[in-house]
């Protein structure tokens, strides 16, 4: 008897302490967990920072808890587990490895916590996926080049790392868009997103195809587009009007497009602030806010998806995008 009374006392004392001393975690704050995969790219860092900044400014009712798995799936699993312990209402996750994290995500969903995947989708159904699609970006780039060259010309394609989906899909979309035209890919390589590798390949390719034989370069990211640009400038062939197309919409690339060094770039959304807006909408059942973010599709398995469309940046509209991309830009500070 004594034992039970003592326990009751301790519990009620504990409850009282929690209710009075920890207002941050009481009912008036919504805890949103954000498990980020790594911090080794400007794209991911911008995703983290912009979502944090937006939440701090617009969602006073939200406590956004951010973890970073530093590229390790095992850490991401324990990150998510610790977020559950802290009582999150919604989980935003950018997965390091979609297969490795799946069992943990199933547990989160089973606990009744909605899960939003950002940029990278998982193989299992989750509540909502928000992100850009790579294939339509490749298609946009292909259509742009086909139109600019009036359906005829030679293109050099500098691809990303063949082991990951973005490189494969950015290629597929492009190939479909130029199918049936007289646009030919006359040289291609996998430069693995690396500027120096792209530069080296372009140097050799410029030797292989003398003046007038290359009309455009399609690079799977802006970094490699810069590599191609430097090779073209160094060879003194920047007067030939070779179109140089990149993808991602890095701040430095947007400047280069404005200057006319690069011809165009296509934005690859950092899902910020869309990620935290979607999380807040799910936590507060605000479906109207969700639909404003982009095209909302509902699938048969009950999951939803919002695609954030890519925007084309050319010389005409580049100024509107200054500092709105990601990555270092001395003029944005």
């Amino acid at each position: 008897m004594l034992n039970i009374t003592r326990r009751m006392l301790i519990i009620s004392a504990g409850l009282a302490t929690v209710l009075t001393a920890a207002p941050a975690f009481s009912a008036d704050k919504i805890i949103i967990g954000f498990s980020q995969a790594s911090s080794n790219s400007a794209h991911r860092n911008t995703m983290t920072k912009r979502n944090q900044a937006y939440a701090a400014e617009h969602f006073k009712d939200v406590d956004l808890l951010v973890t970073n798995a530093e590229g390790k799936s095992a850490k991401q699993i324990s990150d998510v587990e610790s977020l559950m312990v802290q009582g999150m209402k919604v989980l935003m996750i950018s997965a390091q490895d979609s297969a490795a994290i799946a069992p943990t995500i199933k547990q989160v969903l089973a606990a009744g916590i909605p899960v939003i995947t950002l940029e990278r989708s998982l193989d299992i159904p989750v509540t909502l996926h928000v992100g850009p699609h790579n294939k339509p970006i490749g298609t946009l780039a292909g259509k742009y080049i086909a139109e600019a060259l009036k359906g005829k010309g030679n293109v050099v394609e500098i691809k990303g790392d063949p082991a990951v989906a973005p490189a494969v899909e950015r290629h597929e979309g492009f190939a479909e868009a130029i199918a049936g035209t007289d646009i030919k890919v006359i040289a291609e390589t996998h430069a693995d997103w690396d500027q120096e590798k792209a530069l080296k390949f372009m140097e050799d390719t410029l030797q292989r195809f003398p003046a007038g034989q290359i009309q455009a370069v399609y690079a799977h990211n802006d970094n490699m587009a810069f590599g191609a640009l430097r090779a073209i400038q160094a060879a003194g062939r920047d007067k030939e009007g070779i179109l140089i197309i990149g993808i991602d919409g890095e701040n430095a690339a947007i400047r280069a497009v404005a200057k006319g060094d690069l011809t165009a770039t296509f934005t690859y959304s950092t899902v910020a602030p869309e990620g935290v807006i979607a999380a807040h909408a799910l936590a507060t059942n605000d479906t109207a806010a969700l639909e404003k973010l982009g095209t909302l599709t509902k699938k048969d398995d009950g999951s939803m998806e919002i695609e954030i469309a890519s925007k084309m940046i050319t010389k005409e509209n580049a100024a509107e995008f200054f500092c709105k991309g990601f990555g270092d830009d001395p003029e944005c500070k």
Partner: protein
């Protein structure tokens, strides 16, 4: 084949490669293309020379690719903040020397295996580069002409990195062949115990070669920075393997005590010509890797066939 002098296999492979390359593509012997190839030789060769010093002592340095990245982002940040170029260059070289010191100290005085010690530094230094750059590339703004010339410029119509590489090679060859320190490096690599008994300060020799390797990696990082004009913390991934490949193709023994600067230059040329001709011939990217790997094995086999089997 027993009586053929050292390097015959490599020289043979180079000649065959050059003839094959000029037959495969009419553009290969174009002077601009040759300069492009030589610039590649220089970019990777500088790392190869540093690696040669280390491998001669039976060591290995896996941290060079990370040093290239760290120097790239540090240099870019310093330039962004308006630091004068000579001071920035000095700091970058000092960073390379410092990483070399850490490697050398652990390996020579604490007897940590070189593979493990430099692997640790490789990861750590890459981490520093990512920290400084906050994960993304660092854009220093427009490069000063005096710095741009280091990696992207020309002197008398020849790319500057080629001069830098030539200077590095001459100094390295002189040090290895004509100085006491050079002979000590070979002695330590062939037989550490014998070297110690003959009065050589073995730990000091080992310590020094890692500093040399670190400094050359920093120099290479500066050239990369000048060439790309941005600092990328993810650059130089796998460069350490490229440098080791160059050294080994060049006939330097992974078991220490045997190898020359001339061989390493040859090794760098083999790799650069292979990459160039595969691009000129328009070979598909996947088959490129297969061909590249096969030629590397073949070049080493040719050189090994020269030696009598023990």
């Amino acid at each position: 084949m027993k009586y053929l002098p050292r390097g015959t296999g490599l020289a043979g492979a180079l000649i065959v490669l050059i003839i094959a390359a000029s037959l495969i593509s009419p553009h290969f012997l174009n002077p601009i293309n040759i300069l492009n190839v030589l610039r590649q030789v220089a970019l990777y060769g500088i790392l190869g020379i540093g690696m040669t010093f280390v491998i001669l002592t039976k060591g290995i340095d896996l941290s060079v690719g990370s040093i290239v990245a760290l120097v790239g982002v540090t240099g870019a940040v310093l330039m962004e903040q308006g630091m004068p170029i000579p001071l920035m260059v000095l700091i970058c070289i000092a960073i390379g020397a410092l990483v070399g010191c850490v490697n050398g100290f652990g390996i020579s005085y604490f007897r940590i295996p070189a593979f493990i010690m430099t692997l640790g530094c490789m990861v750590m230094v890459r981490g520093f580069a990512l920290m400084i750059a906050d994960g993304g590339t660092v854009n220093p703004g427009k490069l000063a002409d005096s710095f741009f010339v280091l990696g992207g410029g020309y002197m008398l119509g020849v790319p500057t990195p080629i001069y830098v590489f030539a200077a590095v090679c001459i100094i390295a060859a002189v040090v290895l062949s004509f100085t006491q320190f050079g002979r000590a490096i070979y002695a330590v690599g062939s037989n550490e115990e014998a070297a110690r008994l003959s009065g050589i300060n073995v730990p000091l020799v080992i310590f020094s070669v890692y500093i040399i390797c670190g400094v050359l990696a920093a120099l290479s990082g500066l050239i990369f920075l000048s060439r790309l004009s941005v600092g990328d913390p993810n650059s130089g991934l796998g460069l350490e393997l490229e440098a080791i490949t160059i050294t080994v193709i060049g006939g330097t023994s992974l078991f220490g005590g045997e190898g020359t600067v001339l061989g390493t230059i040859g090794g760098a040329m083999v790799l650069a010509i292979i990459a160039n001709i595969l691009n000129l011939a328009g070979v598909s990217p996947f088959s490129q890797q297969v061909v590249k790997g096969a030629i590397i094995v073949l070049a080493v086999l040719l050189e090994a066939g020269r030696k009598p089997r023990k």
